[in-house]
């Protein structure tokens, strides 16, 4: 059996490839855009989470498109089919998002963001409220809780190891490559980040989020990118601005903690919600709420967005 045959037969119930793809230039950097639904329908912009890519919406996006929307998702720089940049930062991701907005339609747009994508859209809503009409945040709401405290001497050791480990990775980044493997091996590796998602789904994700090289499959994500990291950012900075949002907003939270989640608790967050802001918590659900409960979340989101026309 050739790998091409293997690639062709990977499918997942309800998963539909994008109906259209295009590339948007963000100050010269190519950002890959994927669309589902009628090209003439009103757009809803959809942002993925960290280390994900737009095609993780292959099941969720068609459900929203079926409600009469033109779903526009994009790969963050270094992710999916977007170009691998020299540099990546939070502000650069927000700027790339705005480039996709500008290349899609003027005026306010409905938006849906998962995890880091939800947090990016919160910042866009704060910086450019004229561009966002309604905001759906899927398990990407800031947590009011500070990071757990540790003793000073322990913090010093932890920080030393984190810093030198990160600097070491930058020293070798020029030659970095993702580890190759079979479809099943990559799916099993991803299960460490997505422990609640089925092997069949993760295998499907490999078929659309990895490329087939001569020595096996490799995730397309920029090999110089690394999980974790550090910087001066504080949760409280975005949390304090949340209550100032004026557009209708709904936040969905998965209550089962997992590695990629942010551990945000509904009762802690409620005092920071803007007037009219809604919060819906899903019991027995992890961080990937829209994947674990795609139909239910799509119905809720369509109801929140209202008639597309």
């Amino acid at each position: 059996m050739t790998e091409l045959v293997e690639e062709e037969r990977v499918s997942f119930p309800g998963a539909t490839p994008p109906h259209r793809t295009r590339t948007v230039s963000s100050d010269g950097l190519g950002i890959a855009v994927h669309e589902w639904g009628d090209e003439g329908a009103p757009p809803v912009m959809v942002a993925h989470g960290g280390f994900d890519f737009a095609r993780t919406f292959d099941v969720f996006a068609p459900l929203i498109a079926a409600g009469g929307w033109r779903v526009v998702a994009w790969d963050h720089r270094g992710h999916g089919d977007s170009e691998h940049a020299h540099l990546s930062s939070w502000d650069a991701d927000v700027r790339d998002a705005m480039a996709v907005f500008d290349a899609t339609a003027p005026g306010p747009l409905a938006v849906i963001g998962h995890s880091k994508g939800g947090a990016l859209l919160l910042q866009l809503a704060e910086s450019s409220p004229h561009r966002i009409s309604k905001l759906v945040n899927i398990d990407g709401m800031p947590s009011p809780r500070p990071h757990p405290d540790v003793a000073d001497h322990q913090r010093t050791r932890l920080m030393a190891s984190e810093l030198s480990g990160w600097l070491d990775s930058r020293r070798t980044a020029a030659a970095a490559q993702r580890k190759p493997g079979t479809l099943d091996e990559l799916a099993q590796r991803r299960a460490r980040m997505n422990p609640r998602l089925s092997h069949e789904w993760l295998r499907y994700l490999v078929s659309v989020g990895a490329r087939r090289d001569a020595d096996g499959w490799r995730w397309k994500i920029d090999p110089t990118m690394r999980m974790g990291g550090f910087g001066p950012w504080r949760n409280s900075w975005s949390l304090e601005r949340l209550s100032g949002l004026a557009m209708p907003m709904i936040g969905l939270l998965g209550l089962i903690p997992e590695q990629m989640g942010w551990g945000t608790e509904p009762d802690e967050l409620r005092p920071y919600l803007p007037a009219g802001g809604q919060l819906v918590a899903f019991e027995d659900t992890g961080h990937f709420v829209h994947i674990e409960r795609s139909t239910e979340v799509a119905e809720l989101v369509l109801d929140f967005l209202g008639s597309p026309r």
Binding site: A85, H86, T156, W166, R171
Partner: protein, 222 residues
């Protein structure tokens, strides 16, 4: 100044200039200069450094001087720390003197490599304050695509907005003072004192002194 050595940091090429070779057969460790925001490595030895006995190098940060100008920005001081670490990987143990933005990066680098940085000297210069201790109201910056770089207009815009909380800076200072084998591993020479630098200068083990005294002290260390 001769042609720079080209170093690699991920997909970028960074220019490491030899500003002056070691004088009179001196064999001590080198001095690495980190320029301020919008600057580049000086072509001749700046005033005040004449007494340094070893070689003097200068790194052009990404988006500056003869180094790569990245597409679409994305600058952070942490990434510039990794730029400077590429110079350390090439030079080995070195004293690092940074101006403005370079002073903040020198502090981060000393915290990240406390066993390789043989003294960090923090000097006045462009970009010393960054974006202040907390972020201002967020905005999406746009630059003129016809602007002639270097310096990269994204660097100028982004590195004047990056928050520099005092306790974040002191975390790095404590890494240095607790993990370096040197007695006085950080010297603050800057007159300007944005909140991050005020906090660092007040840390136990951080010296406030002149450039001449700092260079003399660090030249003596092995």
């Amino acid at each position: 100044m001769t042609s720079p050595e080209l170093l690699t940091h991920a997909r970028a090429s960074l220019a490491l200039h030899t500003v002056r070779k070691a004088t009179g057969g001196a064999v001590g460790h080198p001095l690495l200069l980190l320029h301020g925001l919008g600057e580049r490595t000086p072509s001749t030895l700046p005033l005040g450094y004449e007494a340094w006995p070893g070689a003097v190098y200068g790194l052009d940060f990404m988006g500056h001087g003869s180094s790569t100008i990245p597409l679409g920005g994305g600058y952070t001081c942490e990434l510039l720390m990794a730029d400077a670490d590429a110079a350390l990987a090439h030079l080995g143990p070195a004293t690092v003197a940074g101006r403005g933005l370079g002073a903040y990066v020198a502090l981060l680098l000393a915290g990240g490599r406390p066993d390789v940085v043989r003294g960090a000297i923090l000097l006045d210069g462009p970009g010393l304050a960054g974006g202040g201790p907390v972020p201002g109201s967020p905005s999406v910056i746009a630059v003129n695509p016809d602007h002639v770089a270097p310096p990269d207009p994204f660097a100028l815009a982004e590195l004047t907005r990056d928050p520099r909380p005092p306790d974040y800076a002191t975390n790095f200072a404590r890494q240095v003072t607790q993990m370096s084998t040197m007695e006085d591993p950080i010297t603050v020479c800057a007159v300007g004192r944005p909140p991050w630098l005020e906090a660092v200068a007040a840390e136990p083990g951080v010296v406030v002194s002149s450039l001449a005294d700092a260079l003399a002290a660090y030249a003596r260390t092995t």
